[in-house]
Subunit: 333 residues, 2 copies
């Protein structure tokens, strides 16, 4: 079974070669306002500009491009209403691989429409009545399919690491610190391997939504902790219940710190990105920026890569960021 | 007097070398949704991600970096509440050149604050009571200063052209058509020279706001026409009263077509950029995209570079785009 094989630093370099001709080489942007606020040199890696609007494209492409089509004539399946599902659908269309995206029937209509537009075949199940496992068995009964998990997969994790491979090249010179949003932990784990792959001395931090700090607590306890709540943060992309197994095996050794940010911090960060960066960032994609903007950490003099990991935000959430922003003179001091 | 010297294609190549180490090499993004809608291959040059949030940084930097500081110890002056003024302030700070930005005292407070944050010295005058010329004389009486016009300047126009020099490299292969927003015409003129400089076969089109189509009418009549109104479009960056002289001398020969877009078209384009590109684009910066999205032109099979020229948009205008967007299924067909 390939899914529990651990990725290596070389896997990330391989993934970077695979992705080079197809992924957007997203820009590494600076903002004088952000540098002034933090006293650091902040380099923003804009994965909200990646295909399908999130870094998830990287892992999905790296995984699907290696699929044995003879073994899996039914293509791939992803269980995701979010960025992972959209990425798998998008890549499926690019590579002419059938991509089935399984979503609960009460998922937002625009997510379903979007996945179909992206080329995915959406299968709905009734939450509470059917289990994911039943659905999976049903799909696999037709033709053998390969399940693409968002975190526990060697090639997915390796793919996520490629954003930092690019950032390290674009930064031209040493990076002291990398801060990434963290849900299941795949992006953090891939980034840790990428740091190793390019022989960077950079320290790795993650950022989680307040009350969804399973990775932070897991690092403290040494075992994979579970969040008390499964919903209730605007960071819908980061609401994993517990750290994924493969990512955690890396993150427990490599992550030096995990920050948290409140919903209000996140809305301020989205507003900052609107005003100063002219970027649309989704809540989960802004959590690392938010954790730095609330200035709990002293970053003075450091050279910091911050991942803006996604940009698929609902208009209503964006309106809240525009509203909250009106009272934030501190952000432009 | 340097200001009425005409720029050449070589000036644009010179400007590109000057800007390379300092300007953001803004990404050239594609959108599958946009390609589907237009039947074309659309390449979006994202100058909303440029320093100071607009392509105007290019012209300002190219001009100020060539300033004779002995001749102009008082630095530079720009008359602009908009992107040109912000760009001159930003570059002034970068190059340690005193930059005076002259604005009417009833300019929006955030524009004044922003120019000061960017390092500009803001001089306010009372509209109706004092003339720009009086203010200019007052400033020049202290120390000799160089006025940086937004359009009628060899090095400003050459600087604006560098966005297409980059785009042509990034496009890897022939471009059939370039479409740029048009106010005074400096970006169009610089782009025309850039097309010549890189020996591209691309056709050049411009896009103007409805009722502010002075360039379109001037091309038809052969002389510089004046708009009937001076305000009343959301495209505040494009409300020049008449085509600037130097740009028009190029545009009259080089521009193959001028499209127009209504405020509603522009709001739809801003919404499209939010949903599909994860970019914040200002009304004037979105007018070329808007003119293509309203599908008055058949672009099938063409390879088209579209300039998104700026991203400095007021939250209230952005809210209108979020509102209007709700009823636009056509954009995701």
């Amino acid at each position: 079974m390939t899914t529990l094989t651990l990725p290596s630093a070389d896997d990330v370099l391989d993934a970077a070669r695979t992705l080079k001709p197809v992924a957007v080489r997203t820009p590494l942007l600076r903002s004088p306002a952000l540098d002034r606020l933090t006293g650091a040199e902040i380099l923003l890696k804009c994965e909200n500009l990646q295909r399908s609007g999130a870094f998830k494209f990287r892992g999905a492409y790296n995984r699907l491009s290696r699929l044995d089509r003879t073994e899996f004539p039914g293509g791939v399946v992803a269980y995701s209403t979010g960025n992972h599902g959209q990425a798998v659908a998008t890549v499926g269309r690019m590579l002419d691989i059938r991509a089935t995206i399984v979503m609960p029937s009460d998922a937002p209509a625009n997510k379903i429409i979007k996945a179909r537009e992206n080329g995915g075949e959406v299968v709905l199940y009734e939450r509470g009545k059917q289990s994911r496992e039943e659905i999976a068995a049903e799909i696999a009964a037709r033709m053998p399919v390969s399940v693409v998990p968002p975190g526990d997969d060697r090639f997915v994790v390796a793919g996520q690491g490629t954003a930092f491979i690019e950032a390290a090249e674009q930064a031209r010179g040493e990076v002291d610190l990398v801060v990434v949003p963290c849900g299941g932990g795949g992006l953090a784990a891939g980034t840790g391997l990428a740091i190793e792959a390019v022989k960077s001395r950079a320290e790795l931090w993650a950022a989680e939504p307040q009350d969804f700090d399973d990775t932070r607590r897991s690092l403290a306890s040494g075992k994979r902790e579970v969040n008390a709540r499964f919903s209730g943060s605007i960071c819908d992309a980061l609401l994993a219940q517990t750290p994924a197994e493969i990512p955690f095996s890396f993150n427990r050794r490599k992550l030096a710190k995990v920050l948290t940010a409140s919903d209000e911090d996140v809305l301020r960060a989205i507003r900052f990105a609107f005003d100063e960066l002219r970027l649309v960032v989704e809540p989960g994609g802004a959590v690392a920026l938010a954790a730095l903007l609330n200035r709990s950490e002293d970053l003075r003099g450091r050279r910091v890569v911050v991942l803006l990991s996604g940009g698929n935000v609902e208009p209503n959430v964006f309106r809240r960021a525009l509203d909250i922003g009106e009272s934030l003179p501190v952000l432009t001091e």
